[in-house]
């Protein structure tokens, strides 16, 4: 082409303004066929993390999030903006996970070493060693509501207020579920000996 003088351009370049989640959701409601997909991509990692940590199995997590997103896609008209879009999406995913757990009554992945099988000698130490479980397997042993609370607050790093908004329960309920869940996990992970009767 050869060297040409600088091409004439507009002196003003439109600023690169990030499109917000609210704008994408509004576009989706307005009939934009691509906007919801962009929302999905933005939040895919956090939705995936929540589902995998709650359900334990990636294939279950993929299905649960897909169900949740279809529900969100159809139900976008009912979202009134009372929470952040990200909070709303996490809420729908958590509910899909809880529905799946109720339907399938998922059993823990690992069964704790029964006390009756503890080798002789020093049963307390042996029990402590035997019952040390990987964190993910330990999470699977918690009741669903405690598991979800611990995943949101301790794994995902949500504040108690954020978790309460996602779960639509009071903050005190989140704290209580976390307390029970952590106490149980402390035993399962071998940090604490289970108190006898």
């Amino acid at each position: 082409m050869g060297r040409n003088p600088v091409a004439t351009t507009s002196a003003h370049y439109p600023p690169l303004v990030p499109v917000t989640d609210d704008q994408l959701l509004a576009a989706h409601r307005g009939g934009d066929a691509e906007a919801f997909g962009e929302l999905v991509r933005r939040h895919a990692d956090v939705l995936w993390s929540v589902a995998v940590r709650v359900l334990g199995r990636p294939e279950d997590a993929a299905d649960a999030v897909q169900e949740a997103l279809l529900s969100a896609h159809r139900g976008a008209a009912t979202f009134r903006g009372e929470a952040a879009v990200r909070t709303w999406l996490q809420r729908i995913v958590v509910n899909a996970c809880l529905d799946r757990l109720r339907r399938e009554r998922v059993r823990p992945v690992v069964v704790p070493w029964p006390r009756s099988d503890v080798p002789s000698g020093r049963p307390d130490t042996a029990t402590e060693l035997a019952t040390r479980l990987a964190v993910q397997e330990a999470l699977a042993e918690l009741p669903a509501d405690q598991r979800v609370a611990v995943v949101l607050v301790d794994v995902q790093g949500c504040s108690v207020a954020e978790a309460a908004a996602i779960l639509e329960v009071p903050a005190g309920t989140v704290k209580s579920r976390c307390a029970r869940g952590r106490a149980r996990l402390a035993v399962l992970l071998g940090h604490l000996r289970e108190e006898g009767p």
């Binding site: 499109v19 691509e34 991509r41 704290k175």
Partner: protein
């Protein structure tokens, strides 16, 4: 009254902030100097640390693609919650050739039968908004990865090849494309360049690596992608010089 040693559950409540201030003070006092209570609190702290140390997960691309396809396949539904046509559409400035929403190509592949005429009205596509989001994500990702300087084009339109995504993002919704504003000329240009004709999502004149050109932002025909093409200014049916051709997105 000698305070009873708090049990693990009560200490867990203390640790989690469940207790009111007065009760928390009582329990804390009872736990003071008690080795067993300290062990419980240490165990809870270790548990929280272990939970927090779980690695962040990245959704596998094929799973995300499945989720997007699932949502797109559901696109025949009415997300606005009504069946009448909606009032808003894309302000396209039709005489500049920016995309006519009724002709716009989806950024997603949607496998479904053509919708009935009565519903077509409110399936207005806003590809400029989604294209801007795609390019913004690419630019942000590049910035985080330290791969590119993601400044928008300089005032004189100079663009480095690595900044093409940023230039594309800045171009979405604009139509500073000179003679290529004529849809017929633009179609001929793309045909001559061997690029499938597609609705224009935006464009502007640029100088790419010291060569003047016209940046065209086009849908890429794949979910969540856009194609950025820089053609020489004289591009038309009689011939095209392609200075850059890249697809960005996920």
């Amino acid at each position: 009254m000698t305070p009873h040693r708090p049990d693990a559950d009560l200490l867990a409540d203390l640790d989690a902030g469940v207790l009111d201030a007065a009760r928390a003070r009582e329990v804390r006092a009872a736990a003071e100097g008690d080795a067993a209570a300290a062990a419980v609190l240490d165990a809870l702290a270790a548990t929280r640390a272990e939970l927090g140390a779980l690695p962040a997960l990245t959704a596998p691309p094929e799973v995300v693609a499945r989720w997007s396809a699932g949502a797109a396949g559901n696109a025949g539904g009415d997300p606005a919650g009504h069946t009448a046509g909606v009032g808003t559409g894309v302000d396209t400035g039709a005489d500049t050739g920016v995309v006519d929403p009724d002709d716009a190509e989806c950024l997603f592949t949607v496998s479904e039968p053509a919708p009935p005429l009565a519903r077509t009205r409110h399936r207005r596509m806003r590809p400029t908004l989604a294209a801007a989001a795609v390019l913004a994500a690419v630019v942000a990702g590049s910035a985080l990865a330290g791969r590119a300087s993601v400044a928008p084009p300089a005032e004189d339109g100079r663009v480095a090849a690595v900044d093409l995504a940023a230039a594309g993002a800045a171009a979405v919704g604009t139509t500073d494309v000179g003679e290529l504003a004529d849809p017929a000329r633009r179609s001929g240009c793309l045909r001559a360049a061997g690029i499938p004709d597609a609705p224009l999502l935006g464009g502007r004149r640029v100088v790419l690596e010291d060569r003047p050109g016209i940046l065209l932002v086009l849908p890429a025909g794949a979910a969540g992608s856009v194609r950025l093409v820089v053609v020489a200014p004289g591009c038309g049916p009689e011939g095209a010089g392609v200075l850059a051709d890249t697809t960005v997105g996920r």
